[in-house]
Amino acid sequence: MSLAVETFDIRKTFGELTAVKDISIQINEGEFFGFLGPNGAGKSTLIRMLTTVLRPASGTASVGGFDITKEPDEVRRSIGVVTQNMASDLDLTARENMDIFGKFYEVPKKARQERVAELLERVGLSKKADELAATFSGGMRRRLDIARVLVHKPEILFLDEPTSGLDPQSRRVVWEMLQNFMKDYNMTIFLTTHYMEEAEALCTRVAIIDRGSVIAMGTPDELKSGIPGNDIVILTLSREQENVRNLAAAEGYVHKAQLENGDLRCYVDSGSEDAPRLMKLATDAGAEVRAVSIQKLSLEDVFIHYTGRSIREEESKKVSLFLGAGVPSKLGRN
């Protein structure tokens, strides 16, 4: 199987900050690859380098068989990119948005018209085709964004947090759409997200990125199997957290005990059997158990397992002091 995307120790720095640290990954053709990480982890920076709008500080990458630094034009012709910002023009209708994008890719008129009509139908915007995008809801605009970058039939589709800010229902519609497109158009999809459930639901393989480095990569099941145990017992304790963590870690049935945001997370084989034992252990140690819950392992746990913190702990963005807080600086464009 040939590779759709391959990076070679790719790195990007902004001043003293290294946003992407020597990442080397390989994505096969036809894969739905997820890049999972919190905001500021370097996901968007990597996608911007792969889509030729940011130059790597060192290393390089091949996209669709073309080198991103030496053959950027060829790379751009073979990809479609849905950016994190909703990028369809509000002053244009859905059809105009798509038609103009088709012209950017020099798709012949007849093919363009057919393709636009087909895609509008598939994303459920046929009836709104001649209405201004400004009148669309967030979900509709996102569907238009996706349809717009498919007019030229890209081999590889990059999606930078495509469901960010959408309500759960719209998010599921987008997921279903993406799965169908991938199946019907035989594309490779590279998706960045900070939604665990999105990566689990869509991706055949996932790389977890944190602070510019890939810390784990594999199928969702492989990643989860890399964590000991099947369940996590989460104890919310009022005191003696550290003491109870040490005691739990010493128990044979606890694979790993970890404090995260004040909660004690114990990785065990059977949550239903081990939760009462852990509660007794905590009570005996003088702690007050205020809440207990049992969770199946998820990618969220994989992230916590490797980083010791939740993916939802966002880092603050830097903003341009010159221009004011309304505009993120270059660093803040993640």
Partner: protein, 371 residues
Amino acid sequence: MRRVFAVIERDMRKFSRNPVIMVMAVVMPIAYLIILGNSFQGKLKGLPVAVVNQDDGYWGRRLDERLKAVAIGPKTVTLTYMSDQGKAVEDVRNGKFKGAVIVPPDFSRRMALGINPEVGIFVDNTDQISEGALTGALTDAVNSLREVFVSVRPDRTVVQARRVELYRMVDYDQALVPGVVVMAIFMGTMITGVFNLVMDRFLGVDEAILMTPVTKTDIVGGLVVSGFIITMFMATIVYIVSALITGITVFGSVSRFLGILVVLALATMGLLSMMFLMLGRANHPRIVGVFSGFMNVIFFFPSGAVYPVEGFPKWLRAFSKVNPEYYAVHALKSIIFKGNPLWAIYGDIVFLLCFLTVMMTLAVVTFKRTL
């Protein structure tokens, strides 16, 4: 080439959905013409002047008649008669009057005897324009006191300078039209071309476009061309409306109108390219607003649109020589008021062409196609 057209189409379509901006960009220069044209043109009228005439003799009454003639005829002054000399001067100081004329009690006697007759003219010299007009009118009134008759035959021994007018009279508001049209062009460059790029960047839309195969030339060229079409349309409307308002012949001959369009086109392309060069990397529309507002003043006033550049200090004259608006205004004045053909203003045309070429090349070269 198809991609350039797509960039143009996108920009034009978007602009067409915001007609209010275009209307404002057309209305504002015309309003400027009307306000500036009426603010500066004509002689000053109705300047308030206090008169304290302490001489009731022949020459005192005669001077009074002369002052009244100025007040009634050219209406330069409005007279208020007072008796207190000190109060009159005080009222000039506190701004109630622009000047005061004090005729001393012995004025007639001194006139009759020819021993240094004097009239006091107290003026508010903080307002130079009013002061100049007032001093001129009052001095004329005083100096004409002894003119009893007008000579029928001119003195043949005196050299006569004969004034020959090469062109028809151009009123001040008409003279402003070339400047107003160039200002309309500048305003067009502020709301099209690079502004739309910066707006895309601000909204995060630019990224999606940069990820397509459009090239630097497609983006710069496309936005400049769409800006050109819109700005030319606006400038032509401003020219036609301004000409109609001020009574200038709008079209004249085909070559005259084509000449005007050529100058407008060159100035528009040049200024659009210059704005692209200067603001191609800005990422907030506020920067465009502040910068272009500043540039508008910097380019407009030293263009000779309002005041001849010959009146500027050397350094400002030197700036005018590299100011594209100076050449555009000069070329338009030549065509509109003198009916000159393009070859007669080849210097202006060559400068505008060179300016356009240099600016466009630099705009494309320095434009960054990455984030």
